[in-house]
């Protein structure tokens, strides 16, 4: 289990990285934390001519607030999502999701940008990004654009990032007064790929929930926004009836993959149970 041969370059800027990619005629792979790329190389599941290391690019690091949005550099490590006070305050679903992501040593090295760009359908951070209505900052030779998370995740392992483009940062709108969140997943063992997961965000007003945002993961090829369930909860107080209606709505929201190990009926059942539990335990953002 040794990687095939490749060339390696450590890019100093996004422009550097993109031109290296272009020079390699696209036979290149960007390396951020490397925790998905390096095993796939070791397993010889891919064999690019060039690896472009993004870890030294200043534009991809840092966590800062701008105009009501938190900008999180793509190279931000998972462990920072767990520990950084700005992320905890302004992108709380990332903080809530982080303990479920793999294991401590993986979190020390894996990056938020890497997780989002990799877009594994069972991955936690993509769902958190969708639930928080984050926007993804993508650099291309044409310039920089921001793509809403809802449009970013296209299919299994497929995002709005075109070949050669670089995910630079994640922008998360700051919580508003009354914001509540919930995150949970059902996995076989701690740190495993979730069988089903849920990220929920809403604004709790006296009259009920507003701006309900629900993203479920491991129930489709990418994080799935549960629109019918959101609608079922909007304007209502969280009670048993509201939860039951949201759970029932998942029938329309989800079309989970069906395979012998995880039949679609099981994923749908688990998604309902999990959503119910998350809704019953929503927490105010401090």
């Amino acid at each position: 289990m040794k990687s095939p041969a490749f060339e390696y370059v450590r890019a100093e800027s996004v422009a550097d990285a993109m031109s290296a990619y272009a020079e390699a005629d696209g036979d290149a792979v960007y390396l951020s934390g490397g925790h998905s790329v390096v095993p796939s190389l070791a397993l010889r599941l891919q064999a690019p001519a060039l690896l472009i290391d993004l870890s030294n690019i200043a534009a991809l690091s840092g966590i800062s607030l701008h105009d009501g949005w938190l900008r999180i550099g793509a190279m931000t490590r998972h462990v920072q999502a767990l520990k950084d006070p700005l992320i905890a305050a302004h992108a709380p679903l990332f903080t809530a999701a982080a303990p479920f992501v793999a294991h401590p040593a993986i979190r020390n090295r894996g990056t938020l940008g890497g997780s989002l760009a990799h877009a594994d359908p069972a991955s936690e951070f993509p769902a958190a990004a969708v639930a928080m209505r984050a926007e993804l900052e993508i650099a291309s030779s044409q310039g920089i654009r921001r793509v809403p998370a809802d449009d970013f995740f296209v299919d299994i392992y497929e995002t709005a990032i075109e070949p050669g483009e670089v995910l630079q940062a994640i922008h998360v709108p700051s919580p508003v007064a009354g914001q509540v969140i919930g995150f949970d997943e059902i996995a076989r063992r701690r740190g495993d790929y979730a069988m089903v997961g849920a990220a929920v965000q809403a604004v709790s007003r006296g009259s009920g929930l507003e701006d309900v945002s629900i993203a479920l993961f491991s129930v489709g090829n990418h994080p799935v926004r549960a629109r019918k369930a959101q609608a079922a909860l909007t304007g209502r107080m969280i009670d048993a009836d509201a939860i039951a209606d949201a759970q029932a709505a998942l029938e329309d929201d989800l079309d989970p993959p069906d395979d012998p190990q995880f039949p679609a009926s099981m994923r749908l059942h688990l998604a309902r149970v999990l959503l119910g539990r998350v809704l019953a335990n929503l927490e105010a953002v401090a």
């Binding site: 397993l43 010889r44 599941l45 891919q46 064999a47 990799h118 299994i156 392992y157 790929y193």
Partner: protein, 153 residues
């Protein structure tokens, strides 16, 4: 693993039928197709490069059409070797039904992968196969439409 689905194509069954045997259309339709050579009236040899997330492999193999009921149905089968990544094979029974000016194409496919791809990729193989099948028919539809508007080759 079994996949099935249905596509409504903007062409008549006759047009769809001839496209199924058209090297140029198939080349455009097969996701990641790098080359497609016709080896007989009903067979082709193909080189396909697939990139799905962390997996990128080049498959060399053959595509064959059989059980042919002209204008109505046939079986498209293919087998490709991805070197040490393993192999993929599959057969799809394709049935055409006219629907006004359009054609409904129904398919039932049995797809299998072996070797390293099966050993490591099981969690994602079915979704990937579905995605590729979807891409194939979307491309096929596009190619068909272009073929219609373009001068006949």
């Amino acid at each position: 693993m079994e996949l099935n689905g249905s596509q409504t194509l903007a062409a008549t069954p006759d047009q769809v039928w001839s496209a199924l045997f058209d090297r140029a259309v198939l080349e455009q339709a097969i996701p990641g197709c790098e080359s497609l050579e016709q080896t007989s009236d009903t067979s082709f040899s193909a080189v396909v490069k697939l990139k799905i997330g962390p997996v990128s492999a080049r498959f060399k193999g053959d595509v064959e059409l059989s059980d042919i009921a002209p204008g109505l149905s046939c079986t498209l089968s293919g087998k490709g070797s991805g070197g040490i990544a393993g192999f993929a094979k599959g057969a799809a029974r394709v049935t055409l039904t006219p629907q006004g000016a359009q054609t409904v194409l129904d398919y039932t496919a049995d797809v299998a992968v072996g070797g390293k791809l099966a050993a490591l990729g099981n969690r994602l193989i079915k979704a990937t196969a579905q995605k590729l099948t979807g891409e194939f028919f979307a491309n096929f539809n596009t190619a068909l439409t272009c073929e219609e508007t373009a001068p006949t080759a």
